[in-house]
Symmetry: C2
């Protein structure tokens, strides 16, 4: 497998990173936040959508938001904080890749426990569909990322669609300028939690 | 007046910048967004509050959010996108400074037109109070800021409380790393417009 030099991935490529806002017991909807960043640095834009908690609309909402964004032409990668948003609103990574024509990389801090996920999905009428989407996201690959503040190495995990694993690894490392996770996801997380916290 | 060297202002001082979200005719409330940043670089946190459009609660909401923030101890400066939020919900800069013990700097791109503001305030029953708050924010001072991308110099304007004008000027310049306005305010603006734009 040919190694991909860091020079091949422009440091300022536009990435949109998605995370969901926290919600309370009884809530039916929550926000998802997309942050448009230049690699691991500047924030260029913020998009929000409302999704149903435990619904099936996260895929459509993300596709619509990305394709309708004024940043679409500059975007090179979609990053996701895992593949489930707002409870078990599971995204279809193939669908997002296919309909945006952009590579999709889902990043998580801890290796997903698929037995627990399958068990949690069993309460849904359409549990087979949700489990299919979970499997469709493909193999979960490890990656060592260095925390730029402490120098410590931490293993994180990712899934990729429409992009080679080696290139995905480089983009994750290059954009993790502030912590163990890429800036677009770190900022989306801060914003999603900040707007979920009022009152 | 003694010149204040750039070295005297730490480049990574924590600043919280506040801006308001757009709203539509008929809305009664809107969001204000506070972004905690290190100087002109990293986003460290996001806070949101809801204020009444044309209300009088922006001062209290900002004070409560700042004093209740886990970042309070690290914060050195409060920045505001002007002194009016959510229509004509005018802040009391003295009150914010006094009750947070932090310097307050309000920054605007264009010199405020006080004749127009006074006229707009005349429709409020408490127009005298709102006009007093507007005047209380003190003299509007000019400042030339260089756009770091284009090198162009633009004149912007600021008001300051609890901090010398010279030091306020340096903090504004130091934190304007990406555009003509300080990063905490640029990011607060992007987030406030992003969350106001859903659906």
């Amino acid at each position: 497998m040919g190694a991909v030099g860091i020079s091949s991935v422009k440091r300022e490529i536009r990435i949109i990173g998605w995370d969901d806002a926290p919600f309370r017991f009884g809530d039916r909807k929550t926000y998802i936040i997309g942050t448009v960043c230049r690699g691991g640095s500047w924030l260029d834009g913020v998009i929000s959508r409302v999704i149903e908690i435990d619904g099936n609309d996260a895929t459509e909402k993300i596709i619509g938001a990305v394709n309708g964004s004024p940043h679409k032409k500059q975007l090179r990668v979609i990053m996701l904080d895992g593949t489930t948003f707002g409870g078990f609103n599971i995204v279809d990574m193939d669908e997002i890749h296919g309909r945006t024509s952009l590579p999709v990389i889902a990043v998580v801090r801890d290796r997903p426990d698929f037995d627990s996920i399958r068990l949690a999905l069993s309460r849904f009428k359409d549990s087979d569909l949700r489990w299919e989407l979970t499997k469709k996201a493909g193999p979960v690959r490890p990656l060592g990322v260095k925390n730029p503040k402490t120098g410590k190495i931490k293993k994180i995990w990712f899934q990729n669609r429409g992009i080679k694993s080696d290139v995905a690894r480089e983009i994750i490392r290059m954009s993790s300028t502030r912590s163990f996770i890429p800036e677009p996801l770190r900022m989306a997380h801060l914003i999603a939690h900040g707007i979920g916290s009022h009152e």
